[in-house]
């Protein structure tokens, strides 16, 4: 798939998502102008971009839907829930049409039938426009213009297009652009500018040399004409102005290096000699134009931009704003291939390692100047690193909102009534993590609705609200992101679970399992089978996959359940995947990195503490019992430190558990690039990766949740 098409696909799925979000919100919170506006804009954008690629099936369909939305937007037609349902179906249908178009597949009969049905339903809401729209359909079928029927005054625009020389190889055909012009209005005159097209011997046929000067009649505004070029804006130089805006014409001519364009426009009788020589410019002597892209850039001096008043008919009342060419008009969002960001992260990781090396050299040489410079560099590097990491962070809201529909659909299908709550949608998480967590979440949410929440009559019998509640919550906690799915359903039946697990040979009858361990059985593959009974039936299907996906993201999943009260699944995920802020310590001969986010405090393990320990693995920390894990004996039992050496305890926390790690040396903060360890370390519990230090030594990164789990189990 070429880059433009891929962009289209991404953009379309984003727009479809906006549309769905607005529709679902409308069905829950009621329909209002904002939501209709959002749906309209999304439909409009899809129509626009699909048109650029010549995806007529998508354009034709969205055009009708957009017409109805426009009427709704202007309050000429009233909305109702049925109509919202219809728009939801239209959204789904659009998705299918777009998929067909992108894959260049032939549209199957079912889709065609669905297309006709949906169009008929849309048209029933627009009895007044029926003739016009029916005419629309025939017009489209005959391949003529779409919007000519649209009311509104036509104006004639002059569009000057020059392409970057690599435009042809960008995958977008110029003819498609012209086709889209035809959908928006009428090309009155199209003059190819061929003075730059060389003779055959000198021609590189893959390089674009041709340009165009177009007279275009349409009832749409300049912005909509510009939208035609949305996907290729970096590859074209454009000037768009109303035909009789002679100031803009003068500016366009001035931007040319010679008079060729002027002669061409005169020869083709687009403009008279007077108009071209600026005959009418006496009133406003300064040539003014807002020229997109490179026409502006080619001129080295300041350009002057004209901002027209929205209702300005006189053209003489203009606000003139001076502006330097390099200044961007406003902040805009940029779509970048995520691979580029990943590449930057890798590079930054290497820089962090290199920087650590320089820091070490500075320390070894006792060169204070160098140390100071390196310290500045380290701070800056951290800023850059955070900045780049931040690019990848997205709010989970957008991803969560789409679950709303899945919940609604599943609930509707099985006759349950569910109140779905999203809490903490503004929480930010790495985009890759959000994408990878999406499927497991869908699975767990479906389970909650399908098997957790009881049928309304059962709930009433239990004295519960007939409407079930499923909550999806996200919040940051101690350097991790917690995602929680809770329901107020039937809860997990421990006995049934245990029985099933024993029957399947997952655990033996003699195993003495805690509640937590029993609940965790739902993550075992093959626990749930068809013959399983009652409300836990189905739980466990694919839950092993869910757990694996979460573990792949270095996350953990936890489960709490109570009969008739409900079940809560808690997922904890690391904020980032590549570089962490660590704390460097040493135990025995080996250096370790503890993720800074897990550290609560560091204390010296002095004689007083040791006395209270009395050979146990606990100390009394301000009246609280703190379990201690001696790292040397846990990982490095052969090497016992010298007796006189100062010993330290790093107090670490994960979720609600706190333990102390007993180590020898504390070195302080360390930017840590996580490097995966080889397979032979796979079974070393408590180590999640390695990192290269400035000295070239390898340090091991502690997996705090695993260490805590190990220590807690010991008790």
């Amino acid at each position: 798939m070429n880059e433009e098409l891929q962009l289209f696909q991404e953009d379309a799925s984003e727009q479809l998502q906006y549309m769905e979000n607005a529709l679902v919100a409308a069905s829950e919170e009621g329909i209002d102008d904002d939501k209709i506006g959002e749906i309209f804009r999304a439909m409009h954008t899809i129509k626009g971009t699909a048109g650029m690629f010549g995806f007529s099936s998508v354009v034709d369909f969205t055009h009708i839907a957009e017409n109805l939305l426009d009427e709704v937007r202007q309050h000429t037609i009233e909305t109702n829930d049925e109509m919202m349902d219809l728009f939801l179906k239209c959204k789904d249908h659009c998705e299918i049409l777009i998929e067909h178009a992108i894959n260049e597949e032939e549209i199957d009969e079912e889709t065609i039938e669905n297309n006709t049905n949906l169009l008929d339903q849309l048209l029933t809401y627009m009895p007044n426009n029926q003739t016009a729209i029916k005419q629309d359909i025939t017009t489209i079928q005959e391949g003529e213009t779409l919007d000519k029927i649209a009311s509104g005054e036509n104006s004639t625009w002059h569009v000057s297009i020059r392409f970057h020389e690599d435009f042809f190889t960008s995958g977008m055909d110029v003819l498609s652009i012209f086709n889209f012009f035809c959908k928006m209005g009428e090309i009155l005159i199209n003059i190819p500018v061929i003075d730059k097209v060389p003779v055959l011997e000198k021609l590189n046929p893959l390089k674009t040399a041709i340009g165009f000067e177009i007279e275009f009649q349409t009832d749409v505004g300049k912005e909509e004409i510009e939208e035609i070029f949305e996907f290729v804006i970096d590859d074209v130089t454009l000037a768009i102005f109303e035909h009789d805006d002679l100031n803009s014409l003068a500016a366009l001519l001035q931007s040319q290096s010679d008079d060729t364009l002027m002669h061409l426009l005169e020869e083709e009788a687009l403009y008279s000699r007077e108009e071209l020589s600026g005959g009418s410019s006496e009133n406003t002597p300064t040539p003014t134009v807002e020229v997109l892209d490179e026409v502006t850039e080619e001129k080295e001096e300041e350009t002057i931009e004209v901002i027209k008043e929205p209702q300005d008919n006189t053209k003489t009342e203009k606000k003139v704003a001076k502006k330097k060419k390099a200044e961007a008009p406003k902040s805009f969002s940029l779509r970048v291939d995520s691979g580029k960001v990943d590449h930057l992260i890798t590079q930054i990781s290497e820089m962090v390692i290199a920087n650590a090396k320089i820091t070490q050299i500075a320390i070894d040489r006792e060169d204070t100047d160098l140390e100071e410079s390196v310290s500045i560099l380290t701070d800056m590097l951290e800023d850059v690193r955070n900045g780049i990491m931040n690019i990848r962070m997205v709010q989970v809201e957008d991803s969560f909102v789409k679950f709303r529909r899945i919940i609604n659909d599943t609930a509707k299908k099985i006759g349950k009534d569910i109140d779905f709550l999203i809490v903490g949608g503004e929480t930010e998480l790495d985009k890759t993590v959000v994408e990878k967590i999406s499927d497991p979440l869908v699975h767990m949410l479906r389970n909650s609705v399908d098997h957790g929440i009881e049928m309304p009559d059962v709930r009433v019998a239990k004295g519960k609200n007939p409407q079930g509640r499923v909550e999806l919550k996200a919040y940051p906690d101690g350097g991790t992101i917690v995602i929680q799915i809770s329901d107020d359903g039937a809860g997990l039946n421990k006995e049934v679970l245990l029985k099933k697990a024993i029957k399947n040979g997952i655990v033996s009858e003699h195993d003495n399992l805690s509640d937590k361990e029993i609940y965790e059985l739902i993550f075992e593959a093959g626990l749930s089978t068809a013959e399983q009974v009652s409300d836990i039936s189905g739980r466990g299907v694919g839950m092993d996959v869910v757990r694996r996906n979460i573990q792949d993201l270095r996350g953990v999943i936890d489960i709490v359940s109570e009969i008739d009260k409900g079940t809560t699944l808690t997922i904890r995920l690391p904020l980032t995947l590549a570089i962490i802020d660590g704390f460097l310590v040493q135990a025995g001969d080996t250096k370790y990195v503890i993720p800074l986010e897990n550290i609560q405090e560091c204390i010296e393990l002095n004689g007083q503490f040791k006395e209270t320990m009395k050979g146990n693995d606990f100390i009394n920390l301000r009246g609280e019992i703190l379990p201690i894990l001696d790292i040397k004996s846990y990982l490095n039992s052969d090497q016992i430190g010298e007796e006189e050496q100062r010993e330290n305890v790093v107090v670490v926390r994960y979720a609600d558990k706190v333990i102390g790690l007993q180590v020898d040396e504390l070195y302080g903060e360390h930017q840590t690039v996580i490097k995966p360890l080889g397979d032979i370390f796979e079974n070393v519990k408590g180590v999640s990766g390695g990192s290269i230090l400035g000295t070239g030594e390898v340090s091991l990164i502690f997996d705090i949740p695993k260490l805590i789990e190990h220590r807690v189990k010991q008790d």
Binding site: F168, L175, N179, V197, L200, P205
Partner: protein, 86 residues
């Protein structure tokens, strides 16, 4: 000169340019037969414009014949019908 492919697009232009350059030296007048062509794009149209420019420079006549409806529409849409003399 008969173009044998069905498509005359960016994928064919390099090869066809070579062919045109060769034939331009051989023939006095250039006639391009598009009878087989079903699909055309802007790189191809640009190549024809360039060929026409060469013909003019070398005082040779240039003609395109057997243009089917779709191809003709493409010429019209791009405004190149006049420039190509079709």
């Amino acid at each position: 000169m008969l173009l044998e492919n069905e498509n005359f697009t960016i994928y064919e232009v390099e090869e066809l340019r070579e062919k045109f350059v060769g034939e331009l030296h051989v023939y006095k007048d250039i006639e391009i037969d598009l009878v087989n062509i079903r699909k055309i794009d802007m790189p191809a149209i640009q190549l024809l414009l360039s060929l026409k420019k060469s013909c003019k420079e070398q005082n040779k006549s240039f003609e395109i014949k057997n243009i089917n409806e779709n191809i003709y529409k493409a010429f019209q849409l791009s405004g190149c019908d006049t420039a190509l003399g079709v």
